[in-house]
């Protein structure tokens, strides 16, 4: 049933474009995410029929329609359990989940943390534009405190979730962050996400041109981005800045931004990124860094290979099936106390 033909998969990005007209607003960050994903899939040696793109509701969740793979457009907030069912039913599939800050963190918050807790092999791409776009501009669980929207005409009075903190707090093994139109970084991140085994969460800093334009301006515009972001790569020192003259160090159990040459700091004081460190302490702090005190961390912040839910289920099935005397329904029906008349 789920047999696939083995073939050499010489795909190009175009092979992953569906015949549906892309309906996002011109200039929307989602176009960048779509292009990047199509490019990355074409580079992987996986038959196309093994991909499933699952989504909830919102602008992000239209993406499966534009991918020429198997796709399932679910209901609001429920992409994670749908994806979970797909992965359990057929662990050979590579399951991607497209979601947004409203879909994953408000109505779907419960499912989001439980998917992460189980560590089921699902790749969650979370488009974070800090606003509800499809319902035309209400604040979301990631909107900055004080944001004026249609449902917060006097500014929000709620603290936002930080997706990385939430993910790692829910015992997430993989968390990465990228920017919608930074295609080079996105390709790198999505590729690592694809190859990771377990629940992977990627926060994509995404711009809604209509309802929250410029929300991420400080980390995306050419003038300020290099001073406001830190691109993390495993094994590389945490150096950033337009002039590559700043870095991150650990002092008094806190992360600290240092400038080389000031107060006696040099490059040697800078932390080296270890994405594979199981202890979540530093990853949690890195994921939580935010302006103006810290640069925003991009790249793969945490990547821990652990036993996945789907692997554990397979192992348990093998073990029970070897041990059990019941091999068919007929045998089950006759098990236990029976009598003849």
């Amino acid at each position: 049933m789920t047999e696939t033909t083995t073939h050499e998969n010489h795909y190009v990005a175009k092979d992953f474009k569906s015949d549906q007209e892309v309906r996002w607003c011109p200039g929307c960050g989602d176009h960048g995410i779509l292009a990047s994903l199509q490019k990355v899939l074409a580079e992987l040696d996986i038959p196309k029929e093994k991909y499933v793109f699952v989504s909830g509701i919102g602008c992000s969740s239209r993406l499966p329609y534009y991918m020429n793979t198997y796709g399932f457009h679910g209901i609001h907030g429920r992409a994670a359990p749908i994806a979970t069912g797909i992965k359990i039913a057929n662990p050979d599939l590579m399951v991607w989940m497209m979601t947004g800050d409203g879909d994953a963190l408000a109505i779907g918050g419960n499912h989001f943390i439980h998917a992460i807790r189980r560590n089921i092999d699902i790749k969650i791409i979370l488009f974070n534009n800090e606003i509800y776009g499809l319902t035309k501009g209400q604040y979301s669980p990631t909107s900055k405190k004080g944001l004026v929207t249609k449902t917060s005409p006097y500014g929000t009075i709620e603290e936002p979730f930080r997706i990385g903190e939430l993910t790692i707090g829910a015992s997430g093994r993989f968390f990465a962050r990228t920017v919608d139109y930074n295609l080079q970084l996105s390709n790198e991140v999505y590729k690592e996400t694809a190859l990771f085994n377990g629940t992977a969460v990627v926060e994509v800093i995404q711009n809604c041109v209509i309802f929250n334009d410029g929300a991420h301006d400080l980390i995306t515009n050419k003038e300020t981005r290099d001073d406001n972001t830190l691109v993390l790569r495993h094994g590389e020192p945490m150096i950033f800045g337009k002039n590559r003259d700043k870095g991150i160090t650990l002092e008094n159990l806190k992360l600290k931004v240092i400038k080389f040459g000031e107060n006696g700091y040099t490059e040697k004081d800078v932390l080296v990124h270890d994405a594979h460190e199981p202890n979540p302490g530093i990853h949690y702090r890195l994921a939580g860094m935010h302006l103006p005190e810290y640069p925003v961390a991009l790249g793969v912040i945490r990547s821990i290979r652990d036993h996945t839910y789907d692997e554990a289920m397979r192992d348990q099935h093998v073990r029970i099936q070897e041990a059990s005397k019941i091999k068919s329904v007929d045998e089950l029906l006759h098990s236990g106390a029976t009598w003849k008349k």
Binding site: M1, T2, E3, T4, D19, Q20, K48, E49, K50, Y51, V52, F53, V54, S55, I57, Y65, M67, N68, T69, Y70, G71, F72, H73, G74, I75, R78, P81, I82, A83, T84, G85, I86, I88, A89, N90, D92, L93, N110, H111, H114, M313, Q316, H317, I320, Q321, S324, I326, K327, S328, V329, D330, L332, L333, H334, G336, A337, T338, W339, K340, K341
Partner: protein, 614 residues
């Protein structure tokens, strides 16, 4: 065998075990049932317990009961009134006084009839006089004292010693019925295999109870019920939740699919998730989801990926699943949703039975949302209807709601084990790669079902979801397309009528009154009508297991009768549904919403009254 002084020969006897919710009455009842079934009686059981795990001791609200009806003839209900009551405390007497037959036997633990306990149960002085039970055969057994005496040399702690009281009572009942102790002794050995002290104590107390009853036999009648004359075959005891689970496993095996269940624990449906979680040996995959919504959504995902997908729940959980159930309607994926109904609304009566989720199943969703609705009639035929629900879901690519209820889920009866080779085949409508493009919503001309292409099948990649689609699976808001799709989804569910067997009438095809039940009303309706027929009334019965669509011959059956009455445990949901579907008939209603099943007696009384009315 010792000579017995007074033996009552009966066709059937109803026994009720009753005590505090921690007294082990459910276990005691189950052991007695199985022993009776192994002897060859037909049986029907009904547990009745509070939702609190340990409700306040000694109060009427904390009483846990288990009723067993054993018979020489076919037994269709757990019985209206108990012939034998085992009462572990005064509250058990208070809770059951009105469910006792005339001349019944009450075995009670006289040690627990202290002044304090009597007051706590709401009595002022003597419970048996206050409830006018002094004419019954009262057997006062100082069970607590006797158990302590029997186990005085054991090293068990006092709490564990008292926990064996139920075995003493059970031993006494076994003597009353001249039953063998072997099954229970084997059970004790298996259950307490790792705790030899407990095993020994329980066996010792069981035997002590038996011998005590023998010693005092002069004051109590004992009962003889000959084995039932039932169809040849291999039998087992089965309850509704187990039968439902096994029916689903049978369907998966027959269809060549993996079974997936995504559910969230909820009384009284949890047994289904628990049973299927055990069945990894048969490849069943189970997910205890984070909530009801995740339960059904994971099942929808598994269905999209090619499993026979199931979610099980009860009323409040079914409400939470409504939106997702519509996603399965829209994506036209096979899905079996089991609602083990309980008393509602809201949290309602979690452990009690009711049939009040029928409208919820039929109508409780946004938009035009047709689903197949079925209802099982007895604990064991949950197997059959779960199998049929899965078969219809797969072959018609549709969600199917199967209604059972607390009464069926927890009730048990002997069941003739079917052979898988006798079960009907299930044909999975797989899509295949052809020269032409796969269109997700292209339909079978007769069934109107679409073809099932699942991830992993090369060349059949497609996208579906909750938005309205064209035949190609493209999102479409075109007015004509939407109307076409709404109608065709409806026609598909109506086409399921081809799978629905004709109604079978119990009794003559014509008469003064047709008594109509649905789902679990079956046993009480059929028993009441059979007794009325024996008494010379011109009455017949039908019981509906297919609600949507209804059997083809429904109107034809109704036409044969002067009067129709619909009996159901709600305020008339099925009666009103019939008023919509078959408008030319007048429907009387007999309704009960007490969290309890019908009694045969009350149905009969209502029918006689109706027959006497002009």
């Amino acid at each position: 065998m010792e000579k017995r002084l007074k033996v009552i020969e009966k066709d059937d006897v109803v026994v009720r075990f009753s005590g505090d919710s921690g007294d082990g009455m459910q276990l005691t009842g189950t052991l007695f049932s199985t022993t009776s079934a192994l002897f060859g009686h037909d049986i029907s059981t009904f547990p009745d317990y509070p939702s609190e795990i340990r409700a306040p001791q000694g109060t009427v609200g904390g009483v846990s009961g288990f009723q067993v009806h054993i018979g020489h003839k076919q037994v269709n209900t757990p019985g209206d009134y108990a012939d034998v009551l085992v009462a572990m405390n005064p509250a058990a007497v208070r809770a059951n006084a009105r469910y006792l037959a005339k001349g019944s036997t009450i075995i009670y633990d006289s040690d627990s009839f202290t002044e304090k306990q009597i007051l706590r149960a709401g009595y002022k002085s003597d419970p048996f006089i206050e409830d006018k039970l002094d004419g019954m055969h009262l057997i006062a057994a100082p069970i607590t004292t006797l158990v302590k005496e029997v186990l005085k040399d054991t090293e068990l702690d006092p709490k564990s010693i008292l926990r064996t009281k139920n075995m003493f009572a059970l031993g006494m009942v076994y003597w009353l019925f001249d039953s063998k102790l072997k099954y229970t002794e084997d059970f004790i050995e298996e259950k307490f295999g790792k705790k030899p002290l407990m095993a020994e104590a329980n066996s010792k107390v069981l035997r002590a109870g038996y011998y005590y009853a023998e010693t005092i036999q002069a004051i109590a009648p004992s009962y003889r019920v000959s084995p039932a004359n039932i169809e040849k075959g291999t039998y087992r005891n089965i309850n509704g939740n187990q039968a439902t689970s096994w029916g689903l496993l049978a369907a998966a095996e027959k269809a060549g699919l993996k079974l997936f269940i995504g559910s969230y624990p909820i009384t009284p449906a949890t047994g289904i998730l628990e049973e299927l979680a055990l069945r990894k040996d048969l490849g069943a995959k189970s997910l205890q989801a984070e909530d009801e919504i995740a339960g059904i959504c994971s099942a929808i995902g598994a269905s999209f990926a090619g499993s026979l997908a199931v979610t099980s729940t009860s009323g409040p959980g079914f409400a939470l699943k409504s939106e997702a159930l519509n996603l399965a309607v829209m994506t036209e994926l096979p899905l079996v949703v089991i609602n083990v109904q309980r008393g509602g609304p809201s949290t309602g009566l979690p452990t009690k039975t009711e049939q009040a989720d029928l409208w919820q199943a039929l109508y409780g969703r946004n938009g035009e949302s047709p689903v197949v609705v079925m209802a099982a009639g007895t604990p064991s035929d949950c197997f059959h209807y779960a199998f049929r629900a899965a078969k219809i879901a797969i072959e018609y690519m549709t969600p199917v709601v199967l209604l059972t209820d607390s009464y069926l889920a927890n009730g048990s009866e002997p069941w003739k084990i079917p052979s898988m080779s006798d079960m009907p085949s299930i044909k999975v409508p797989w899509a295949e790669k052809t020269e032409t493009e796969y269109l997700p919503y292209e339909r079978d001309p007769v069934k109107h079902s679409r073809k099932w292409a699942v991830p992993g099948m090369a060349g059949l990649e497609h996208r579906i979801g909750g938005l309205e689609k064209t035949i190609r699976g493209s999102v479409s808001y075109t007015p004509e397309n939407h109307e076409y799709m709404v109608k065709i989804r409806n026609e598909k569910v109506e086409a399921v009528v081809a799978e629905v067997p004709d109604l079978k009438v119990t009794g003559a095809d014509n008469g003064d009154l047709l008594v109509i039940g649905w789902g679990s009303s079956h046993g009480h309706v059929v028993t009441a009508v059979t007794e009325l027929q024996e008494e010379g009334y011109n009455v017949s019965a039908v019981n509906f297991n297919y609600i949507r669509p209804l059997p083809k011959n429904t109107a034809q059956v109704f036409e044969g009768f002067k009067k129709l009455v619909v009996c159901e445990l709600n305020l008339g949901q099925f009666a009103n549904y019939l008023r919509i579907k078959h408008q030319k008939f007048t429907y009387h209603q007999y309704n009960k919403v007490q969290g309890l099943p019908f009694t045969v007696k009350e149905i009969k009384e209502y029918c006689i009254k109706l027959l006497e009315e002009k």
